[in-house]
Subunit: 261 residues, 2 copies
């Protein structure tokens, strides 16, 4: 590992570095510094392989040994640390591998293309739900995500964790859903308890799928911009489904019914 | 509220009672005493309305006032407590309403009937996943659940919480899935990454749906007893879906495709 720019001063991780990484648990410090962190072997390898820019890799000797070939090809600062140091900085209770300090991306607008699905979240507040939804979107090939400004923060460590690496494979933009939808020309589908049974459709043309807030569903302002309300049929007595579960079921139906004009 | 058997000795909740309820966070004490607890306004009302036997209702004055009519019709011991006392006993960080001490049900075998769906879980270990799956089963009208002995405990407070009241509306049995399936005569479906694309079916006859462990999927022993492997089609790059998400998607497809012979 001679060719690695590894800081072998094990245990000499500066207090300021630890303090800085810990500050990134909070949104205001992430926004101020424009950095976030990614934890765990699999997610760190995925972010190193993605179009995110990783500035510093904090990793155990075991990780650097196991992935020496891959890591040596990367232009980044590497600091060898202990498991205990990783855990003192990050969000994982147990992290025996790595933590990457990564630059946030610029919040660029999402440009729709004809025949393409876009997933829009109208105030999904729970970070676990957001991370799970990102993983589902990646499974179903929905690569463009629109988030209302009140939706949970993409860079929250719980979102990154729940997305299981899928955060690397989606484009996303925070902004005003209302004005975005006003400019959008394709069909806008939304999840509603009183929508039309999605099992009854023969085909569906790609467009935007809007999922609403955990407690209140899709807001009134966005509802006005929905061209087709969809409902998941119930065969039992549960009152509702979790928003991530509902997103998965609707994505599955939409991809099955997808026809291109 | 004169007619309620309310113990108004507020603050006099005995140390032994608190200790007993707290012991029910652990499976071994739940099994030893054959009791579990249910928290929060909505779930407590659901369990009082169900065929579970509630022995004691610990509730705040607000809860007893709000639901006086309903509660007074119940044959149970009522103890008025404070929010702080509820939180000291239960699992919720914030519980301003009620906690019910409920008797566990006898572990009776599940008897299959023709034309009926049964959901079988082969070592689903995470309590949050189990609770979410119970809610999904209730949504899709799958009322009979079979759990392998290594599946998470139904009475775990996290399972009860995640099921959002649906734990009251399902029948379930823990036991040896292998011998149960050996005696079962209908079709056995299972979730497998290399199964047949569920979108390709024209119809499906009701039977057992088997979902596997979070890391390892369906075990080899159970795989031998599956007559039709099913896969959820992927359109993107995520490697897998969470087991609760996969259960929801398969239930949605099976109910859509359901035909009775």
């Amino acid at each position: 590992m001679e060719n690695l720019k590894t800081d072998k001063s094990n245990g000499m991780l500066s207090k300021n570095t630890v303090k800085f990484i810990k500050s990134l648990h909070q949104k205001k410090y992430r926004n101020a510094s424009q950095h976030f962190f990614v934890e765990g072997e699999k997610s760190v390898l995925e972010v190193l392989n993605s179009n995110f820019f990783t500035e510093t890799l904090f990793a155990t000797a075991e990780f650097l040994e196991k992935h020496s070939e891959f890591v040596s090809g990367q232009d980044l600062d590497i600091q060898e640390v202990t498991q205990k140091q990783l855990e003192s900085m990050g969000h994982y209770q147990s992290n025996d591998m790595a933590l990457a300090l990564v630059k946030m991306k610029e919040n660029l607008p999402i440009k729709p293309e004809k025949g393409e699905w876009i997933l829009a979240l109208d105030d999904v507040r729970d970070p676990g739900n957001l991370g799970t939804i990102i993983r589902i979107a990646d499974w179903y090939g929905l690569r463009k995500l629109l988030f209302s400004t009140q939706t949970a923060d993409f860079y929250n460590p719980k979102v990154i964790q729940a997305s299981m690496g899928s955060f690397c494979r989606v484009d996303f933009s925070y902004g005003d859903l209302e004005s975005w939808l006003d400019a959008y020309e394709g069909p806008v589908y939304g999840a509603f308890m009183d929508g039309e049974n999605v099992h009854g459709f023969q085909e569906i043309h790609p467009g935007v799928l809007v999922m609403g807030n955990e407690s209140n569903g899709v807001s009134k302002a966005i509802e006005k911009r929905v061209s087709q309300k969809l409902a998941i049929p119930s065969f039992g007595q549960a009152e509702s489904l979790n928003v991530a579960i509902a997103t998965a079921i609707l994505c599955d139906n939409l991809k099955r019914l997808e026809r291109h004009a």
